[in-house]
Symmetry: D2
Subunit: 401 residues, 4 copies
C-alpha cells in the first residue's frame, strides 16, 4: 500500500497548479463576461489559454493512449482532473472536457481510419467540439434499451429520426459532430443488439438544435445542454461506429471513465470550496467573534474536510481498480464513486455556500455553479438510483452465496 | 384542539385554487417567455392576472388590518399563502409578494399619514413596487448592529452613503421606493439605538442600481435581487420611519411574519412537487416496471409526504401562536419554522427533481426554481445558524432552571 | 384551527405531571433496583404506584369507552401519553401500557361476555398482564399472511402449534393470557380469511416461554420480550376471538392506535431528554466555557426542540384525524407518525446522550433505554419500510389521477 | 499509488480469516453462554482460543516493536484488525484488545525495566489484564486538564484520591494493574504539566471497583466498564510513569493509535453486517418477493457497501500517514477517521439490523452489540465534537493563510 503519487504525477500536479494560478483563476471573471456577451461562441480567453496549455504540454492529459497524449493511467489522471475541477470550465483549457473526452476515446477505440482523420484529429487539437446524443425526453434513457430514436438502413445510407435532449456541447458554435445513439433493430430479441451509434455532422440537413436547456438556472455556455431534433437525417453507412447493432457495446465502453472524470473534477470543486470557506470564516465577524472561532463553524469545516478526503480516496481506489483489473471488474467501485461523490461534494459545496451568506449563491463565487454541476452529475449517466440498484444487486450476489 | 379551518378560510381556499387552476397554471409558460423578452418589466400576463384577482376580491390577503384588506389572522392566511406558493410568482398576482408585504406592514404601522398616502396606497393597489435595503456585502448583516451604511442628519435632510446587495425588487421598473436601513449614531453605547430606517424614492440622485445578482443561476425577474449604491443620497427628514435611532425597532417588527410567509409558500411548492412526482412515477417505466411500483420510489414518496405535512403543521402552529400570544412570544415557534421548513422543503423538491430525471432540473418544470427559492430562504433574514443559535439559547434558558 | 387543549385535558395534564413529579421520578432508581433483584416479578414500587394512580382516577386513561375508563378521544389522550412516556415504565402505573391496552381494546370490541368477565375485568383492574403473540422468527410477520403458526379445529377444541418471538409481557409472572394469531385455513384463496385469533391462558399445557430476548442489550423487565413455543396447545372453541378465519380483521382493528400510542410516549421521552440536555449543557464546562455557550451546542438544542415539536404536531394531527374520520381514513397520517416519530425522537435522544458523555449511554440516565425503545418501535408493528411502502402507494394513487 | 497489501499482510489476512472461520465464529454462542454464567471471569473458550492463536503466531499483531511482536506498521495492522473486529471479543483472542494494547505500548515506551518485567511481560503473554483510569464522572475529561483525581507525593510514596468511571477491563478478575491519570500539581501555570500517570496494582488498599456500568444495556463482560474509587491509595514513587508532571505527555502518546484501532475493528463489524444483510435479504420473502429483489433493499445495500469502503480507505490513509509522517503530523487524518468511522459504521449496522427485523436487535445476531460498540466509540477518547473542533481549527489555519 502506498498513497504517494509518482514523481511524474507530482510534477504534472505542480505544473497544472501553477497554470491555474497564473492563467485560469485570474480569468474567471473575463470568461463569465465573454460568454454573457456571446453565449455560444468559444470565449477568446478560453482559446488563448488552450494555446498556452498546449504549448506547455498540459494537453489531452485524459488520453490513455500514449500515441495521442501523455498516456496516463486513471490513477495518474485523477489528481490532475481534481485540479482542473477547481474551475468549472478549466478542463477544456487542457482539452479534457466532457463529452469531448469520451467521444475522442470512442473514435480512437471504435472509429475507422477515415473517421479518425476527419473527427478525432481536430478534436485532439481542440479545434472542433463534439456532442453525444443519447438522452431522450420521452423515455427513461438510463435504461439504454428504452431509446426510441430510429437509425434505419436505406440503401447505402442510414436515416435518423428522433428527439434528444440535454445534449452537452450542442449549442457550441464549433460543435461539428454528433455521435448519435438510436435503434436500428427494435424487434431484435436480444435487447442489447437493437442499438446502433452513428456519426452525424452538425450541418447535416434535418438536424436542428431546438433550444438550450438550463439546470438550476444555468445554461453552461458556451457548450450548453440542448434539445436536438433529428428529422429524416440521412448519413452514409460509412458513418457507422463499429457496426450496425453494436451501439450498446460502444455505449458500455464509455460509461466507466465518464462519470468518474466528473467525480475527479467535483472533488477539486469541493476542495476549493473548503479553502474558500476557511478564508471566509477567518475573515468574517458576527456577534463580536470571528466565525472561525465559533464551535459550529469549526465542526462544519471538519466535516467538510473529511467528506472531501473520503471522496478523493474512493475515486482514487476506483481509478486504481480500473487500471489494474479493467473497467468491467471495477464496476463496483466505479458505482460507489458515482453514488457518493456527487452527493457528498454537493453537501460540501452547500455548506461552503452557507458560510458565504447570500453572496455564496451568486456569480461572485464559483460555488453555486459548482453545486449545479454536482447536482446534475447525480443524473449524468443515469440517476443515482440506477447505479445503486445495480451495485446493490452485485453486492448481494457476491455475499449471499 | 381542532385542525379544521374556518368556513371563511375554506371558501377562500376554494376560490384561490380555482383561480390558480383557471388563470395561473395555464400562464406559467407565458410568464417565463415574457420576462425573457423584457427582463425587468412587469409582464403583461401578470398585470392582467392582478386585475382579475383584485376583481374577485383575492387581493392583499396578507394584510392583517381589516381597513386595508380582509384582515385575516396568520393562521387564516397560512393555507392561502400555501396555495400561492405553488407557483413562484403567484403571490404577486394577489399582491402578497415579498418584500412589498413587509414594506406595506411597516408603512401602515410606522408611517406618517403623508408617507402612507404617497407610498402605501399605490402599493396596496399594486401600482408600484418597493424594496427593503438592509443586507450589505461587506458585513454579516444578520447581526443588524454590523450594518455600515450611514444615514446622517444634515440640516433638514439626511444623507445616505453605503452599498447594499440582494435587494429584492430593486431591478423592477416599477420599483418606486426603498426603505433603507443604516446607522445614524454608530457610537451610541446602546447598539440597538444606532440604526435608522428611512424612505428613499427610486429616482433620488445618488441612488444607483448597480447590477442584478443571481442565486443558483436565477435572476428572478422582473423584481430581481440587486446590488444598490447610495452615494451621497439626500432625502428630507420627513422620510424618517418612526424616528432617528429607531431602525432596529422597525426591523424587529417585520422579521416575524416575513420568513414565515416564505415558509407558507414553500410548503405549497413542496406539496405541488409531491403531486408532480406522483404523476411522474405513475407515468414512467424503467426496466420493465412503472416507477410507481418500485419500493424505493414508494418509500421516497412516503417520506416526501410526511415532510410536507410536518412543515405545514409546524408553520400553522407558529402562525397560531403569533395570533394568540404575539410575535415576540411566538419567536420560538417562528424560529423552528424558519429553521426546518426551508431545509425540509428543499429536500422534498430535490427528491421530486430526481424523479423527473434531467428535465427536473430544467425550466420545463417549476421545481428547480422552487429549489432555488427554498435555498435562498435559508439565508433570507439571516442564515439558519443565526436562528438556531437564538432558539437554542432560549430553549436552554427555559429548561435549565 | 385551535391548538389549545380542552380544560379537562389541561386538568389531567396537571394532575399527571404532579403525579410524575411526586411519585414516579423519585422512584426510578428503586424500580431499576427491584427488577434487578427479581427480574420477572412486578416490582413492589410499581404496585404501590398503581394503587395510588387508581385512587387518584389516573387509571385506564387510554380507554376510549366511557363505561370502562374516562372515555378520552385520541387527541385528548395524546398529551397524557406524552407525559407518561417520560419514564419508560410509567405507562403501566396508569394501566396504559402496551400490549395490555391493545389487548383490552380487542377484548372489549370482539370478546364474548364470558371472555370479558374472565380477562378484561382483571386487566382493567391491573391485576393480570397479557401478551399478544403474532411475530414469528421464521417469517416476515409484518405481512400477516406469512404467519405459520397453526390453529386447527379438533372437535370442540382448537389445537395450536408454532413458535413466536418478541412477545412482550410473556416473561411477566402475572401474565395470564395470550392472544394468539395463527392460521386456521392456510389454503383459503382469500389470504385475509386464513387467520384466526384465539385466547390461550398462560398455564395451558404445551405453552412454554422459552427465553427472554434482548433489544440492544435491554430485557425490559419485568414484562420482557420472549420467545414462546406452542406445542399441541389445546383450548376450547369458546376461546375464539370474533370467529374462525377473522384473525386478520381483529389484527387490523388494533394496529392504528398501537404504534400511535408508542409515538405519543416517545415524544415524552424525547422532550424529557431535551430538558435534561439543557440542564446538562448549562452545568458543564469544557475548555473554559459552559457547553451552553458554545454555538454548536445551541444549534443542536434548537434542532432537537424543533424535531420534538414536529413529532408532537404530527402525532396530534393523526390522533385528530382518527377521532374525526376514523382509523381507516386516518391511515395516511398514522403511517406518517409511525415513520417519522421513532426516527426523529431517536435522533433527539441520541443527541441528548452525546451531550451527557459516556454517562449518557449508561443506566444513570433514562436516555439510553429510551433510545432502545425508539429503536425497536421502528419495527414494532412492522418495519418502517412496510409503512412507507403502503403510505407511498396511497399517496401516489391520490395524486396521480 | 498502490492499494495492494504486501504479500506478508496478505498471508496474515488469510491465516487470520481461517482462524476466525475455524475457531471464533463457531464459538460465539459458547462465549455468550459462558460470560452469562460467570460474568467477570475470562471464559474458558477465550483462554483456549488465546492458546491456539499464540501457537499459530497470531499474537500481539498490534505491537509495532519487532522485539515484542511481529513489528507491523499501522497500514499493515489495519486490515488484520478489521478481520478481528468482525466479532466483538475476537481482538482479545489475538491479545490485541483495548485498553491492554495501549497500556502495553505505554509500558514499552515509558516504563522502567522493572515496570516492564512486572507488568508488560505478563500482559504480552495474555496472562493478566490491565485498565486505564482517566475518565471521571464529575468533569468533562475529554479536556485532560479538567481531571480532578489527585496524585500527591508523600515521602517516597504517592497518594491517590479520586473517582473514575467507564474504566474498561476493571471488572475482569484478571485485571492486575491500573494506569491512573491524575493531578500532581493542579496549580502549575502550564496546564499540561499538572498531570501525572502512575501504576496502581489492583490489590492496593483503597482501590475499590464500585460497580459495572452499561452502555445501551450492554455490560461487555468479562472486562466491563467500571466505576472505580481511589480512596487514599498509596503506591511507591517507583510506580510513576515517565515522571511526575508528565502525565499529559504520556496521554498524548496513546491517543493516536487508540481510537484508530477501534476504527479498524468497526470496519470489520460493518463489513460483516453487510454480508449478513446480503444473506438475509436473499433468504427472506415479503409480499411475494425476495427482499433482495426490492429496489429499496438494493439501494440500501449499495449505500452500506459504499460507506464501508469509504471508512476503510480513510482509515488506511490515516494509518499510512501515521507510518510515514508520524502520529503528530497525521492528526488531521486520525481525526477524520475518528469522526467518520464510528458514525458511518453505526449507520451501516443500523441498516443491517433493520433488514433483520426484531431479531436484528437481539443477542441472536452480532449487530446490536456491534452497534453499541460503534456508539460508545463516538465518545471513547473524547466525544466526536472535540475531534471536530480541533480538526476544524487545524484545517482553517491551514487554508486561511
Amino acid at each position: 500500500m502506498d498513497f504517494q503519487h509518482s514523481p511524474r504525477v507530482q510534477d504534472l500536479q505542480q505544473r497544472l497548479t501553477a497554470f491555474m494560478n497564473e492563467h485560469v483563476y485570474p480569468n474567471e471573471h473575463a470568461f463569465n463576461q465573454q460568454v454573457k456577451e456571446q453565449r455560444w461562441k468559444s470565449p477568446a480567453v478560453l482559446e488563448t489559454l488552450k494555446a498556452k496549455a498546449r504549448e506547455q504540454g498540459l494537453w489531452n492529459l485524459f488520453m490513455p493512449d500514449a500515441n495521442y497524449g501523455p498516456g496516463l493511467a486513471n490513477i495518474e489522471y485523477a489528481p490532475l482532473a481534481e485540479i482542473m475541477g477547481r474551475v468549472f470550465w478549466a478542463a477544456e483549457v487542457f482539452n479534457c472536457n466532457a463529452p469531448d473526452t469520451g467521444n475522442m476515446e470512442v473514435l480512437l477505440k471504435y472509429g475507422t481510419e477515415e473517421q479518425r482523420q476527419r473527427w478525432l484529429i481536430p478534436l485532439l487539437a481542440g479545434e472542433i467540439r463534439s456532442a453525444f446524443a443519447m438522452t431522450e425526453p420521452a423515455v427513461a434513457s438510463s435504461d439504454a434499451t428504452n431509446v426510441e430514436t430510429s437509425i434505419l438502413r436505406d440503401g447505402d445510407d442510414y436515416v435518423i429520426n428522433g428527439r434528444k435532449w440535454f445534449i452537452t456541447n450542442a449549442m457550441h458554435e464549433r460543435c461539428a459532430i454528433f455521435i448519435v445513439m438510436g435503434k436500428s433493430d427494435p424487434d431484435n430479441p436480444n435487447r442489447h443488439l437493437q442499438q446502433t451509434q452513428i456519426l452525424v455532422p452538425r450541418d447535416t440537413p434535418g438536424l436542428s438544435v431546438a433550444r438550450p436547456l438550463s439546470t438550476l438556472g444555468y445554461y453552461e455556455e458556451p457548450g450548453g445542454h440542448a434539445e436536438v431534433v433529428f428529422d429524416t437525417v440521412r448519413v452514409p453507412k460509412e458513418n457507422l461506429l463499429l457496426g450496425e447493432g453494436r451501439g450498446f457495446e460502444v455505449a458500455q465502453g464509455r460509461l466507466g471513465p465518464g462519470r468518474i472524470h466528473h467525480c475527479m473534477r467535483l472533488i477539486g470543486a469541493a476542495q476549493r470550496s473548503l479553502e474558500f470557506a476557511c478564508k471566509r470564516v477567518e475573515g468574517r465577524e458576527v456577534f463580536g467573534r470571528k466565525l472561525s472561532q465559533q464551535g459550529s463553524v469549526r465542526e462544519a469545516i471538519a466535516v467538510m474536510a473529511s467528506k472531501v478526503e473520503m471522496c478523493r480516496l474512493l475515486t482514487l481506489r476506483a481509478a486504481d481498480k480500473m487500471d489494474s483489473e479493467g473497467t468491467k471488474e471495477a464496476r463496483d467501485l466505479i458505482a460507489m464513486a458515482k453514488i457518493m461523490v456527487p452527493q457528498l461534494t454537493s453537501e460540501v459545496l452547500d455548506m461552503a455556500i452557507q458560510m458565504h451568506g447570500a453572496g455564496g449563491l451568486s456569480e461572485d463565487y464559483f460555488m453555486a455553479e459548482a453545486f449545479n454541476y454536482a447536482r446534475w452529475c447525480r443524473m449524468a449517466d443515469g440517476p443515482d438510483q440506477v447505479h445503486m440498484m445495480s451495485l446493490g444487486k452485485q453486492v448481494i450476489r457476491q455475499y449471499s452465496n
